[in-house]
């Protein structure tokens, strides 16, 4: 029964567009992780040295890159397993079975893990192909190539799969707020897990750099401090032979413990999940508020009144309607924090407040472009006239909202950030339109915002970092995004 839940979850998500996007990104990552032999780019550097592209080295760098990417990007693919079961009514069917909450959670965890592991598998194949393509070593060793995936990547993916289950069972983390929290947790977690003293080996980077340094020393080279990440070196790195890290019983034990810990994390929510879900004997699906009691007279036919005038233009009302849809259900707490940021930005001009004001609305922006697909209203809108006018009305609503929420910070801290008020809604509109889910924008925007926080000037859409693009360039980029969104809408309309 557990395996059936796991396989159903795996098959369901494997056929979703988000799976293909993350998988393609993983394959692309495999390509980038093993740059051309003469390239100045490298993912692992020890004082200007890197390993020869043999199976051990290509497998290890791809496995590490995969672990890092899949625990962020992959999480967003698997984090809706329980919500999906609830939305489709599958959970109600399971209620009528003998399945226990713990079994259901383990099955969901395994399904998540299979999704992520299949992506890691694609990355392993990419690594093998890249080894042959780079041709520094043509001796393909499956064991050397796959060992780092098994020992480094899969345990980390197990933890990711388990945390996705945990996130879905904690009330505050189920929605978009959980995505934001995950982004922060994943960033901090990845930094901590790269430490040599990370528990149970962390990501395995400590083990890797130790092994690389040992190999260099044995070959008469002087290893310096190791660095992992995409780096551009002044000179192309020099190579040395590395045949893999030692697989010891201690290492295997640590990684097995990490995977078992993931299982515990996945099953832990059974303690409270039973009270929240219908998977219990006394539970049941959420009930709708009953309608007003009817007497027989209320069911008598009422005359249908004919006549309805068409308006010359409904654009202003469309904008109002789209704004209402955008902001419906936003909590008072959200508004309270937004108000505090707004008022503070008026009195205390600062870069920190500017960035905070432009990070806080991410969950609202991420509703743009969904066009009712998240709640099924698209079925009604499909037969409505003027789809492009509706798109533009939604964009205007997004721009007005952005200007209202971030306006104080723009005026007081960075007047050149006005273009950001065009850029962010345009980006959200396009990503929501293409993906049909809010998660893509949430993940990409937070990454972009994080880059601005870390002063990556060329990605600065807010004018918060010296040397960034001009407001006109940002406005032009916004126009391109809006034009793309319009083209997507028009094309879909034609291909309907």
């Amino acid at each position: 029964m557990i395996l059936a839940v796991a396989m159903a979850g795996f098959r369901e998500r494997r056929r979703r567009p988000a799976y293909a996007v993350v998988l393609l990104a993983a394959v692309g990552l495999g390509y980038l992780a093993i740059p051309a032999p003469g390239s100045h780019w490298t993912i692992v550097s020890l004082g200007g040295y890197r390993g020869v592209y043999n199976s051990a080295y290509t497998g290890t760098v791809a496995a590490l890159a995969g672990a890092l990417w899949l625990c962020v990007g992959g999480f967003f693919v698997v984090r809706t397993a329980l919500a999906q079961d609830r939305a489709t009514g599958v959970r109600e069917l399971l209620v009528a079975s003998r399945m226990r909450s713990a079994s259901y959670l383990i099955g969901t965890f395994l399904g998540n893990f299979l999704v992520l592991a299949s992506m890691a598998g694609a990355l392993a194949v990419t690594a093998a192909l890249m080894q042959l393509a780079r041709a520094e070593s043509t001796a393909l060793s499956p064991v050397a190539l796959l060992t780092p995936f098994v020992l480094l990547t899969l345990p980390v993916l197990a933890v990711t799969a388990a945390l996705a289950v945990l996130w879905e069972t904690v009330p505050g983390l189920r929605g978009g707020f959980g995505n934001v929290v995950w982004f922060g947790v994943a960033l901090i977690g990845m930094i901590a897990a790269q430490s040599a003293t990370a528990p149970l080996g962390g990501l395995g980077t400590g083990l890797l750099t130790d092994s690389l340094r040992t190999a260099m020393t044995a070959q008469g080279l002087r290893p310096e401090e190791g660095a992992i990440g995409f780096m551009y070196l002044d000179t192309a790195p020099t190579t040395f032979l590395w045949t893999g890290f030692p697989v010891t019983a201690g290492l295997v034990g640590q990684r097995v413990l990490l995977a078992l810990g993931a299982v515990v994390v996945a099953v832990l929510p059974a303690l409270w999940f039973a009270r929240l879900s219908p998977l219990r004997s006394s539970g049941g699906p959420q009930r709708a508020v009953p309608g007003q009691p009817q007497d027989s007279s209320s069911a008598d036919a009422v005359a249908y009144s004919r006549g309805a005038e068409a308006a010359r233009s409904t654009f202003a009302r469309l904008v109002l309607g789209e704004a209402r849809v955008l902001l419906a259900g936003v909590s008072r707490w959200w508004w309270a924090v937004a108000a505090v940021l707004f008022v503070a930005a008026i009195f205390v001009p600062s870069r920190a407040l500017l960035l905070a004001s432009w990070g806080w609305p991410v969950l609202v922006w991420s509703r743009l472009g969904l066009r009712g697909r998240d709640v099924g209203v698209d079925a009604l809108l499909a037969a409505a006239p003027r789809p492009v006018a509706r798109l533009l009305a939604e964009w205007v609503a997004g721009v007005v909202f952005t200007a209202a929420v971030g306006g104080a910070a723009i005026v007081r801290s960075a007047p050149e950030a006005w273009a950001g008020a065009l850029f962010v809604p345009s980006l959200a509109l396009l990503l929501g339109l293409v993906s049909g889910v809010p998660r893509l924008f949430q993940a990409l925007y937070l990454a972009l915002w994080w880059c601005v926080v870390n002063e990556f000037a060329f990605l600065d859409y807010l004018g918060a970092v010296p040397g960034g693009p001009s407001p006109l360039a940002i406005a032009a980029a916004s126009a391109v995004l809006l034009a793309l969104a319009t083209a997507v809408t028009t094309t879909r309309h034609r291909l309907r």
């Binding site: 709708a288 069911a299 249908y304 037969a383 409505a384 309907r496």
Partner: protein
């Protein structure tokens, strides 16, 4: 007014959904019947301009609305089988939004929304968020939104699903009223719903139109072929294997079986008056 001409719809890697269907519609209700997978929803979606046909034309007052869908959409009321609502909006807010989407003037929207909510018996719940509505109440919101622009063409797919008997009666009465000057295309699995609202019935099977005509003509197809008899419970399987059984009722003296057959299936069989379910099953089985 509305013409569906030689429509064909193919989906990738699936059997043909709609196969060379032609229907010409004037004011009145067309009841569309057919088993699951017969192509009813595909045909409804094409008629509502939601999906393009692979081949064929949809003409509204002579205009090709496959190429120019907005001509029909401005005066179309469409209720799909499955739809959702914005759960945090009230019925009034949701209908106001859709009124703007459909291009209705502000004055008309203000007048029609309360009227329509009264019509579908939702006035008392008009200011409650839709997230708290029951399935039947949401279906009634769907009916109200379909009528917002006082459409000339109404396409409704399974509109009575989830409605209680009183509301079904109310909706059927409304449809009869609307049919006086509007084209109404009504798809349903509830065969008995059609008897009370229309005399014009189309039956689809395997994507093809297998019947279009009056109820009498439909019933005429099985005249003299409907029989009733009482058999022992053990004999039911044998009867089902040899004939199209349209009804089974367990009684104290055995099982009362209603059967379609060109000749009496048993010496004890008595002729019965055909009804729409007999005629429908006779066509699609």
């Amino acid at each position: 007014m509305l013409e569906l001409v030689e429509l064909t719809k193919d989906y990738r890697n699936k059997p043909r959904a709609v196969d060379d269907v032609t229907l010409r519609l004037e004011a009145g209700v067309l009841g569309l019947l057919g088993p699951n997978g017969a192509g009813k929803s595909s045909l409804m979606r094409i008629a509502a301009t939601v999906t393009r046909p692979t081949r064929g034309r949809v003409l509204f007052d002579g205009v090709d609305v496959v190429a120019r869908p907005d001509v029909l959409r401005r005066t179309l009321g469409y209720l799909p089988q499955d739809f959702g609502v914005h759960p945090h909006l009230t019925a009034v807010e949701f209908l106001s939004y859709l009124a703007a989407v459909k291009g209705l003037s502000r004055r008309s929207a203000r007048r029609r929304i309360p009227e329509l909510l009264e019509l579908v018996n939702l006035s008392a719940a008009a200011k409650r968020p839709l997230g708290g509505y029951s399935g039947g109440m949401l279906r009634r919101v769907g009916i109200a939104q379909a009528l917002l622009a006082d459409p000339r063409v109404i396409v409704v797919d399974e509109p009575t699903a989830g409605l209680d008997p009183q509301e079904r009666v109310r909706f059927r009465t409304l449809l009869s009223d609307l049919a006086s000057d509007k084209v109404v295309v009504l798809s349903t699995h509830i065969v008995s719903d059609l008897e009370t609202v229309t005399d014009d019935i189309a039956v689809l099977a395997g994507g093809r139109l297998v019947h279009r005509g009056s109820l009498d003509r439909l019933l005429g197809a099985v005249a003299g072929q409907v029989w009733e008899m009482t058999v022992a419970p053990a004999d039911v399987a044998r009867v089902q294997a040899g004939h199209v059984v349209t009804r089974l009722i367990r009684t104290s003296s055995g099982v009362r079986v209603r059967v379609l057959a060109p000749s009496p299936p048993s010496p004890r069989a008595e002729p019965a008056t055909p009804d729409i379910e007999d005629a429908y099953l006779g066509l699609v089985r």
